[in-house]
Amino acid sequence: MNTKLVTGDSGVKRWFYQRLTGIFLAVLLIVHFAVMHFTGTGETNYQIVEARLASPLWKTFDLAFLAFALYHGMAGLWVVIDDYVHRDGWRLLIYSAAVLAAVLFFTLGAVTIITFRPHIVWFPPKV
């Protein structure tokens, strides 16, 4: 087994931040479910999302959510790859593909949130 990691670090920071983002995710998910599914009609459509995303506060929430979830998932994937892929070349290839995918999905999500509806309403009324 090849023990030399491609990145050459022990991963202790990733380990720590995975736990930290895990705790954040648990809190954000509770808010997310409460708002999306347990208040209002429980359905989702453009108008409902539009009313919420008019607020920069919700945009900030969603951006943080996006970043934490992707970071947490990537840190997890890293561990899984370390467990099953032992050759440096393959690791480098798969890590790179994963990082690239994460960057693309972060960009797609961030652009969706940031560019949505420029008319700012800080505290949107409930639809």
Binding site: G22, L25, N45, Y46, G73, V80, G109, F116
Partner: protein
């Protein structure tokens, strides 16, 4: 003569099962997150977005959503258990099995708390 018998290092205790399920649920959630981001990006075209939402209202997806809810509840609660094992260094690991069963019981309650109203609106 004693045979050289292979003894597996891991046996299927609560902790092993918890770990396997955690890994599978984590990977499933990554897959879902990717699809979620993809679906939500259609917000830039309101009509498309509403069509997709209507499509996802089909019973198949509702049932899948229920499964997703279970996966999330499991991963979240077992994740918090792992964090407690890691950070409560004095006692965490010693009570990991109890925490696993605690997470299972709490999980069933949380799952039901979400699933019952969900199924309620589904039937309506």
């Amino acid at each position: 003569m004693k045979k050289n018998v292979y003894e597996p290092r891991y046996r299927y205790h609560a902790g092993t099962v918890a770990w396997i399920l955690h890994r599978l649920s984590g990977l499933a959630l990554i897959l879902y997150l990717a699809m979620h981001i993809w679906v939500i990006h259609h917000l830039n075209r309101p009509l498309d977005f509403n069509n997709i939402m209507a499509f996802l209202n089909e019973p198949v997806f509702k049932i899948l959503e229920l499964g997703l809810w279970g996966v999330i509840v499991y991963h979240a609660l077992n994740g918090l258990r792992i964090i407690m094992i890691d950070f409560f260094t004095r006692k965490g690991a010693a009570v990991q099995k109890q925490m696993f069963w605690g997470a299972v019981v709490l999980g069933v309650v949380v799952f039901a708390a979400g699933a019952i109203p969900f199924v309620g609106t589904m039937i309506k």
